[in-house]
């Protein structure tokens, strides 16, 4: 598979949120607005890229028996780095995202890609995989954030859409997250089913 295909698969065909159903905890929690979704998408993309590249580079050095602890240490290190960088240079995002940034450590997309892809493929393919998965995750967050902010606060990026209209507050509360994600997953499944049947040979994450 060429690396352009690696990049593309994460965005649609193997979208981490809608198809692989990974990393749903941060997805449900931070998508109350487009702004928050953007912050989380950026932080996750950074960690995913760094961990994929480093784990791919070290794949011949790390013995199989202790690969998971090594992956966790590497991922946790990059998460701590982005936490410090956010606090230093983006204090507002740091405040908004709060505890969700440290929780990137246990985001299963990152460990999943490390185990299923980066530890078995070369650096460039892993970079493309990380970029594609990161963009796919980010796009899903932004899409959910857009829908929830629009319906739940009647705003997009903080700007009012329909003045005078009362928003459905439930959409920015936890039930709104489940509703939105459920409908979007359904749409993805419908589309996939019509386009082609899922092939069983592909690796899971």
């Amino acid at each position: 598979m060429s690396w352009i295909a690696e990049l593309g698969k994460g965005i649609f065909r193997r979208n981490p949120v809608f198809i692989l159903m990974l990393g749903l905890c941060p997805t449900l929690a931070v998508t109350v607005s487009v702004h928050n979704a953007l912050g989380m998408a950026g932080a996750t993309l950074f960690v995913l890229l760094c961990s994929n590249v480093l784990i791919s580079l070290l794949r011949s050095v790390i013995p199989r028996q202790i690969r998971i602890p090594c992956f966790i240490v590497i991922i946790a290190t990059f998460v701590s780095v982005i936490e410090l960088l956010l606090a230093a240079y983006f204090p507002e995002q740091d405040k908004e995202l709060g505890i969700y940034v440290p929780l990137i450590v246990v985001n299963c997309i990152i460990l999943g890609r490390a185990e299923a892809f980066a530890s078995r493929h070369g650096v460039w393919a892993s970079l493309a995989d990380g970029l594609g998965m990161g963009i796919g995750f980010g796009a899903a967050l932004i899409l959910i954030g857009l829908i929830r902010e629009l319906l739940g606060s009647n705003t997009v990026l903080g700007y009012t859409v329909a003045p005078g209209l009362k928003p459905a507050v439930i959409m920015i509360l936890p039930p709104g997250a489940f509703l939105t994600i459920g409908f979007l997953m359904g749409l993805f499944k419908l589309k996939r089913g019509m386009v082609r049947p899922p092939s069983p040979s592909e690796e899971g994450g």
């Binding site: 780095v81 709060g98 700007y159 009012t160 859409v161």
Partner: protein, 212 residues
């Protein structure tokens, strides 16, 4: 697995940990100064919001371990005091900073920390732009200036300790609760009251008793 195998695995894991702590040490060292600066900037801007009449501030530590700030006006006279307090809200502890002038009238409050329900409780810190998305997209934003401070917090300006009561109907002499978030509204008000109480107990100003 034999003993040397286990030892070599341990050594590899240890070196991974050592390298990662080295990296963290470096990043921490590189960002330390900037994070400190951000905190100081944050405190400074909060003080300017709660004590708009003051131009310089100095921190004071009073007898019973409370920190408060004295604000001075251009002529170097005491213009007011700022102190922070906290109270449990609906889903988080709300920390506020409140500023009073020497007569004990509130000059501003700022919520420093909160994690209240998005869309309900966190209206206390939301500033709603009066621009619509269409204004921005079509470039009609010129001439409309968005409000700077959350309307809920603006209510506290000019109130005295005795007026710090939460009501549900609009009342210029009281604090009007946020729709659907009475607990948060009360918690903010209690936190402000507590910080004023602290000042009062210090005897630094005669809170709520009119000008000196």
């Amino acid at each position: 697995m034999n003993r040397s195998g286990i030892l070599s695995l341990g050594a590899i894991l240890m070196s991974v940990c050592l390298v990662s702590s080295g990296l963290l040490f470096f990043v921490h060292w590189a960002t330390k100064g900037r994070i400190k600066e951000q905190e100081a900037e944050n405190r400074e801007s909060s003080l300017r919001i709660v004590l708009p009449q003051a131009v310089s501030f100095s921190p004071l530590t009073a007898g019973e371990l409370i920190d408060y700030y004295v604000g001075y006006d251009r002529a170097g006279r005491v213009a007011g005091y700022a102190v922070s307090g906290s109270s449990p809200g609906y889903s988080s502890t709300i920390v506020v900073m409140a500023g009073v002038d020497v007569g004990g009238v509130l000059t501003g409050i700022k919520i420093l920390e909160q994690k209240e329900t998005p869309g309900l409780g966190d209206e206390a810190v939301r500033v709603h732009s009066n621009l619509t998305l269409w204004d921005v997209l079509l470039g009609r934003s010129a001439g409309k200036s968005p409000p700077r401070r959350p309307p809920f917090q603006v209510q506290f300006v000019g109130k005295t300790l005795a007026q710090l009561a939460v009501v549900k109907k609009p009342d210029p002499q009281k604090i009007q609760a946020i729709t659907g978030a009475t607990i948060t509204s009360r918690a903010v008000t209690v936190a402000v009251r507590q910080s004023l109480d602290k000042l009062l107990r210090q005897g630094t100003c005669s809170v709520g008793e009119g000008p000196e």
